[in-house]
């Protein structure tokens, strides 16, 4: 049985908000019985874009995490709802029945991803439906995916085995795998949002030139090499994919110059600044 899955590339999202706005266009003031009732005019974010800056001026990057409903295979909202008010379809989409769910505020609080919203006026919990009402009419993608200009959002209609293979071969990840809820929203390049980096610039003091081709080695307290980099023509280096809250040693080697070693205490991503050799 083919099921709907979403893949989000964190490295391709630049926060244009087309997905957020397309979702509002589809659902504000529109009832799509029996899938959903109208989203309130303001306030809901059925796809919520979380934002992160990593590093410090001038070495930094920015990452965005579009966060729709995860359409979990083992959803907490289904368990928290009374009267089968929340159910998973055969194609994997999780729907909150807008009539049965009336008054059930517990559904909102049940979601550890925080993607369920309360509609005060209509007294019902609401969330992203993967635009199931459109998919059932023959659309191949929900509104957000259609509106995305960079290809950050992809939508796949494939069986669970097939999705598993894609996930493994392309190194996809889910957010909060430890919840164990089997989301069907996967992410590429999630490290951009969740991991940290150490960056810096190496310069040659005697000639006042950028040190190109310097070797940078990052080791942890046990002496294990965690990452390596070679500085580019601006002397810049970046070692990524690190856990937050780490203590590291950074060693910089450049032929003809004395090595430098720095201690780096990483709370979050760090630009260690300019290191003169």
């Amino acid at each position: 049985m083919n099921k709907w899955n979403m893949i989000i590339d964190v490295a391709k999202c630049h926060d244009c908000n087309n997905c957020f706005l397309a979702c509002k266009d589809e659902f504000v003031g529109n009832d799509w019985f029996p899938y959903s009732v109208s989203q309130p005019l303001h306030g809901h974010k059925w796809i919520d874009i979380m934002r992160k800056e990593r590093g410090q001026f001038p070495l930094l990057d920015v990452a965005y995490l579009p966060t729709p409903c995860m359409h979990c295979d083992d959803a907490d909202c289904i368990k928290a709802a009374k009267d089968n008010a929340v159910y998973e379809r055969e194609d994997g989409i999780v729907i909150i029945d807008p009539l049965k769910a009336k008054g059930q505020k517990a559904i909102v609080d049940s979601c550890p991803y925080g993607v369920i919203w309360w509609n005060e006026e209509l007294d019902v919990a609401q969330k992203c439906t993967f635009c199931a009402h459109l998919l059932d009419e023959g659309w191949q993608q929900p509104r957000c995916v259609q509106a995305c200009p960079t290809g950050a959002l992809e939508f796949l209609h494939v069986d669970d085995g097939g999705m598993q293979r894609v996930s493994e071969s392309e190194g996809l990840e889910v957010v909060h795998p430890e919840y164990g809820l089997q989301p069907r929203v996967y992410y590429r390049n999630l490290y951009r949002y969740e991991k940290s980096f150490v960056a810096g610039s190496v310069a040659l003091e005697d000639t006042d030139e950028c040190a190109e081709g310097a070797k940078v080695t990052l080791t942890n307290d046990s002496g294990q090499v965690i990452g390596r980099a070679i500085t580019n023509n601006y002397g810049d280096f970046k070692i990524d994919g690190l856990e937050k809250d780490g203590k590291y040693s950074l060693e910089i080697e450049c032929a003809g110059y004395k090595n430098r070693e720095l201690r780096v205490s990483l709370e979050d991503s760090r630009n260690v600044g300019v290191v003169f050799l």
């Binding site: 244009c16 504000v28 410090q56 930094l60 509106a147 200009p149 190109e212 300019v274």
Partner: protein, 861 residues
């Protein structure tokens, strides 16, 4: 399910063409267009062993997706309104404008008051006593556009136009033009076929004051996004020079430089210094394709003023480390590099500053040194230059639509001969009549006199911008009435408390405002005429189709798409289309027949425009009406003609460009528009005009900004440099405030506990810490010109000493007296200087602005 009763229609927006779904008289959905197999095939570019072809759909800007929230906005003007304390036969109480309430009146009463005032003013003063002006942009649709319906009416009734400064072009217009001509493009270059050129040849792109993911070229949504991604995938290195780590940088940057605001020109000169001293420039090209290089080279080397423009010198000015400047110069000088100076290929916030004219010139200087026009090397914004059918004629909005105004639009180029109508002209809105500069509306109203150079967009020739004008013009009256079409100036002009004050004076006895929403300047009018949106009327348009001063602007889009803008719903309330409003007034003024050509409706005009284009050769009116859009096919034998390649090879121009005019060339089609026909490091046009002008010297120079870190007394009081670029999510004011969904975009406005959506100002973490400011705190941003309340965003995307807040707040919400108290809505333009770029460059310089800010705890401020 009742999906069967939903109609799928077509329309067009400033941010792209759309499918519009309507059910029971309500718009329920607006989406981009997806093509079918019957639509023309997409082009394919072969480069570096790969094939590149765009997705078969259109893209849409964020605000276009928010259109339903604007269409049904609670601030829509639904009825004609009269200011309660305005009585045209009695007391006008002009000083109360902006504070008075409004009462509903009928259309007949409104039209009667407006037309009576127009007649009275003509009788007592003359037709030029009515000043009128639209905003820079308009809702989409070429029949309804301001160059069309508005011009036709104003030309027939007579008016003093408040001419627009060349806002998007500024430094290119007043500076760049003097190096390479392109006056028919207001100083920015052609861009034909540079996408293919870049895919095949380019190794590096330097984006200097360029954020195409935000600005979308012009009107072209995200068409070029996939094309930049192709280049990135090919390994093209991408460098960004911008005070802010902008959104294109966030997606694609390999290296970011943030020179202090106002010092880009020092950085540019020092790059040239490295190229000269390390022999990293194209000497052959300089020798054969340019004049005056030696004189400029002497300046760069310090032989003229004793100051060699070394990287060390530039580091002191700009804060960019000298060693990094050297590394950049060396990389740029040894790789085939495109310079994306500005988002369109030209433009860019750096051109709208005290240093803007010199910046544009220096951008041209740098690429001239690298062989501008050679394979892979050009000034290219990455937004234009897709393969393009330039032969297929569908007019841009700038070709005058139904006005046929050959003086103030590009109608004379080709369209006025094709269209079946009586064209209109205005003797007043001509160089021999009277006009005022939009940037000096307040001075003209309040002081009653002004002198300046340049009438609006000076595209006819390089010399046109030197021409001097005065207000009042000889024999013409002072302004007695303001017909304001739109309401954006408080959020978009500069030092905008001036505009508020200009309304609150008895020297301006009558103000009409024609707007869609009750916002901004609409709240200062005596009579408000409610206009409807493009979804409530018929029109026809093309995706990114302005043309005019941007010939073949449609080479931005991946597919040329012409849309029938179907009337989706009836106008809300009593609102009317602009055309119908003008027709109503024309009736009262006795020229209804002339205006409407014997009673034509908007749909009739749409059909005429269809017939005047090349569309009938390809599709019948009936089929076009049914389908609602047409994708223009590529010619079978398409031949790529890269921009300026003909120039480097000293051939006759082979691109389809619209200029230069033969009168300015020794041999038509050979060389540039300049007197020498070459790139002029030493400008012959400036030499003929005012060679002693130190503000705009005959060779380009680094001249410290008249409001920046060198103006030490001011800088000591206001130590933060403000950059106010084009907004990310709205299209200027289009989409902002008015209850739009855009207000909920986190990076657009911040919802605070008081229920208000505050405008964002971005500040470096160190500057924030010093002032005790945390994320989302309210702050008061201020200088001598006024104050604005914003929500702070603490960021690393700026260097310390620089703050960033977008221009174009749509609303004006003063905490106390209008024009004299802090604005809570976010009109950052209250703080920017009104001073012209130079004494003879009558352009805006908002990005030379010093401010301070502090935590805001409440009160009137």
């Amino acid at each position: 399910m009742n999906m069967g009763t939903i109609q799928k229609l077509t329309n067009g927006t400033t941010g792209g063409p759309v499918f519009v779904y309507v059910q029971d008289g309500r718009v329920i959905r607006i989406t981009p267009m997806e093509f079918d197999d019957l639509d023309a095939p997409s082009w394919v570019i072969n480069a570096r062993g790969r094939e590149f072809s765009p997705p078969r759909k259109t893209t849409l800007s964020p605000y276009s997706l928010a259109w339903r929230s604007m269409l049904y906005s609670p601030t829509r003007l639904l009825h004609p309104l009269k200011r309660v304390d305005f009585d045209p036969a009695g007391k006008r109480n002009c000083k109360n404008r902006g504070e008075s309430g409004y009462e509903q009146i009928s259309w007949d009463e409104a039209a009667e008051i407006v037309s009576s005032e127009i007649k009275r003013i003509k009788r007592e003063y003359g037709p030029a006593a009515m000043m009128a002006t639209p905003g820079s942009h308009h809702l989409w649709g070429h029949v309804g556009y301001r160059h069309s319906a508005f011009f036709r009416f104003m030309n027939l009734t007579g008016y003093t136009s408040a001419e627009h400064n060349p806002d998007s072009w500024e430094g290119w217009h007043w500076g760049g033009m003097h190096m390479w001509g392109f006056s028919h493009r207001l100083g920015i270059p052609e861009q034909y076929d540079l996408l293919e050129d870049a895919l095949k040849n380019t190794e590096m792109i330097v984006f200097w004051s360029s954020d195409p993911e935000t600005t979308g070229g012009i009107y072209s949504a995200f068409e070029s996004t996939c094309r930049r991604q192709w280049l990135k995938d090919l390994g093209v290195k991408m460098i960004f020079i911008d005070p802010y780590f902008n959104h294109t940088a966030g997606l694609l940057s390999d290296k970011w430089f943030a020179p202090r605001l106002g010092t880009d020109n020092a950085l540019a000169c020092s790059i040239a210094y490295v190229w000269i001293t390390e022999d990293l420039y194209d000497k052959e090209y300089i020798k054969t394709r340019t004049v005056g290089f030696d004189k400029w080279k002497d300046y760069v080397l310090g032989k003229e003023d004793g100051v060699p423009k070394t990287p060390e010198w530039a580091e002191k000015e700009s804060t960019v480390p000298a060693r990094e400047i050297r590394a950049l110069a060396r990389e740029w000088g040894s790789k085939k590099t495109m310079l994306a100076a500005g988002g369109l290929g030209g433009w860019g916030g750096a051109c709208r500053a005290a240093t803007g004219g010199e910046w544009a010139r220096l951008m041209i200087c740098l690429q001239a040194m690298q062989g501008l026009g050679k394979p892979g090397i050009n000034i290219w914004g990455t937004t234009q230059g897709a393969p393009h059918n330039s032969e297929f004629l569908f007019p841009g909005y700038a070709e005058g639509g139904i006005s046929g105004d050959v003086d103030n639009s590009a109608a004379a180029y080709r369209f006025v001969y094709r269209m079946k109508f009586k064209p209109t002209r205005s003797s007043i809105n001509s160089p021999m009549g009277q006009h005022v500069p939009r940037l000096r509306i307040p001075e003209c109203i309040l002081d009653g006199k002004y002198e300046w150079r340049g009438k609006g967009f000076c595209g006819q020739s390089i010399e046109a911008q030197f021409h001097q004008y005065k207000y009042p013009a000889d024999g013409y009256p002072e302004i007695q009435m303001y017909y304001r079409y739109g309401g954006s100036f408080i959020g978009t002009m500069n030092e905008t408390n001036r505009y508020v004050k200009a309304y609150q004076t008895d020297r301006l006895p009558f103000v009409v405002n024609q707007s869609i929403w009750f916002e901004g300047e609409a709240k200062f009018a005596d009579i408000i005429l409610p206009a409807c949106t493009n979804f409530e009327r018929w029109d026809i348009s093309e995706f990114a189709g302005c043309l005019g001063y941007i010939p073949d602007s449609t080479c931005q889009v991946n597919h040329r798409v012409i849309s029938l803008q179907k009337k989706c719903i009836e106008p809300l309330g009593e609102s009317k289309s602009d055309y119908d409003i003008f027709a109503l007034l024309a009736g009262k003024l006795g020229f209804h027949e002339l205006y409407t050509e014997g009673g034509l409706t908007e749909l009739d005009w749409v059909k005429r425009m269809f017939e005047a284009s090349d569309l009938p050769n390809h599709i019948s009116w009936e089929d076009f009406f049914e389908k609602g859009y047409y994708v223009v096919p590529m010619p079978e034998d398409y031949k790529s003609t890269p921009a300026l390649r003909w120039f480097t090879e000293d051939r006759k121009r082979d691109t389809p460009d619209w200029g230069p005019h033969p009168e300015s060339q020794e041999e038509f089609g050979k060389g540039l528009q300049t007197t020498s026909g070459l790139l002029e490091f030493e400008s012959s046009s400036l030499n003929k005009f005012d060679p002693a002008d130190e503000e705009r010297p005959i060779i380009p120079k680094y001249i410290p900004s008249w409001e920046g870190h060198h103006t030490t007394e001011l800088y000591a009081r206001y130590p933060l440099q403000l950059v106010s670029p084009h907004p990310r999510f709205s299209f200027h004011t289009m989409g902002d405030a008015k209850g739009s969904w855009l207000n909920e975009v986190k990076d657009h406005r911040v919802l605070k506990e008081d229920g208000y959506y505050y405008w964002v100002i971005r500040i470096n973490s160190k500057d924030a810490e010093k002032r005790g400011i945390k994320e989302a705190d309210l702050v008061r941003v201020f200088n001598e010109r006024g104050a604005v309340i914003c929500a702070a965003q603490v960021t690393e995307r700026l260097s310390p000493g620089t703050v960033h807040s977008y221009e174009s707040c749509a609303e004006y919400d003063p905490l106390g007296k209008p024009g004299e108290s802090a604005d809570r809505a976010g009109c950052i333009n209250i703080l920017t200087p009104s001073r012209f770029i130079t004494k003879n460059s009558s352009g805006m310089a908002p990005n030379s602005c010093l401010v301070e800010l502090e935590r805001y705890e409440g009160g009137e401020a």
